[in-house]
């Protein structure tokens, strides 16, 4: 089979589309994680973190096991039911501001 520039370009375009789709899939697949792991995860990683809620304020709370991470997302419906000491599973992305990690919650489930 003869290979010319056109065929290489088509192969490159197919590889590019496949790579992009795979990257989107990986970006939207949550990984189960402990609070400690979330503190060292790369920013933007989608995680499912289990821990105990503490220090609940109007806009955030701390999710703790042996260590704690701040969770933002108190506008979510389930966050209104949250009380201190309760176990929760937080689905969210790790964010970093001024060197400090926090989780931007997309879903909070009470255990």
């Amino acid at each position: 089979m003869e290979i010319d520039e056109r065929k290489v370009a088509i192969a490159a375009a197919i590889a590019a589309v496949a790579g992009i789709l795979l990257l989107f899939f990986l970006a939207e697949t949550p990984r189960e994680s402990s609070v400690a792991e979330s503190l060292i995860a790369a920013p933007n990683t989608l995680l499912e973190i289990t821990g105990e809620a503490a220090n609940i304020t109007t806009d955030r709370f701390q999710l703790c096991d042996r260590v704690c991470i701040s969770v933002k997302g108190m506008g979510l419906p389930s966050s209104g039911l949250l009380s201190g000491g309760e176990r929760a599973v937080v689905l969210g992305r790790v964010k970093e501001y001024m060197g400090r990690r926090y989780v931007e919650a997309e879903k909070i489930t009470l255990e």
Binding site: V8, A9, A13, G19, A27, P43
Partner: protein, 388 residues
Amino acid sequence: MLQVLAVAAGILLGILSGLLPGIHSNTIASVLSTLPLAPEFFTYIIVAVLGAHIVFSFFPSVFLSIPDDTVVASVLPGHRMALAGRGREAITVCAMAVILASCASALLLPVSIALLPIAYAAISPHMALVLAAASVFLLASEREGGKIAIAAAIFLLAGALGVATMRGGIVDPLFPAFSGLFAGSGILLSFTSARGIPKQKEGKTELDFLPYVAAGVVLGALSDLLPGIAAPAQIAIFASVFIVANDARKFLALVASIAASHAVFAFAALVSIGKAREGSLAIMEAIKSVGAGDLPALVGVLLLSIGVSAFLLMKLSVHADRLQKIGMRNLNLGILAYLVCAIAIISGAEGLLVFATATAVGLLPPLLGVRRTHVMGLIIVPSMLLSL
């Protein structure tokens, strides 16, 4: 004495990070922030790293075609000059432009502190529109209908790659992405030709690029208004549509000036609008709060670092001929091996996937006969979405 030591250490670290693609000045700042250093020592070291990194990142960009995210626009004209035996001249232009632009920007710093908040308030609500309009001009520069359609498809493909990359939890995502778009694809294509880096001529050049340095200073200040994804590179690409730079030297002067003035005006942005437009400055601000009173000393350290680094870069470029002895094929294989190892260590398996995908995207413009700048959709599209 402590300050001198900090500046010297910063310059050495900046040279290292500039010469080794993948090690960003932000990475150095991030590592240093974990060490028990006195805040003042830390501040000086970070600023010196920033200056030296900007200057030395032109070396891999020009001679090896491996771009840093700030000076990515320099990779194509710079490497073209190196392939024509004019790499040392390209380095002279970049070093001179960085020195001139950083000094001019330092003089304009008081004005920018007053004007940046006004300009930021005026532009920030319309940022997405500004980026969209500039992108349309970028695509329209192809002039033929068919080529515009191909360029738009490549721009969107690169944009989708940018969004997918930024959305995932990948450490330093721009490193594998830019390395694939420019170095990876360039190396694959180079295996089809026997062209190597020829003997480099002397680095003498005419100082006829001052208007481009002046334009770079203004555009560098503007880049500090943009959201943070490689803003100097975006500004340089957009500028290439509007500013006619008919030889590679002038375009390099423009890119180098934008990078230098972006770094200087980043201090003004930090003090006046509270936005740290350089990752390393954000880390510095977290350790020691920076006020207007600190600016003379910090900008002085930056200028000193740029001056010393530019001198050392010129000395290093004299030895660029040694690259010729390695042979282009071996050099390319070495670069490819280095990139794969560095990406695997820094960004992991997902980083390698980004590198492979970006290499595939980077192959498309030369194969389909459109300009390679359209792959900058990688940073422009996510910036547009971020501004909505």
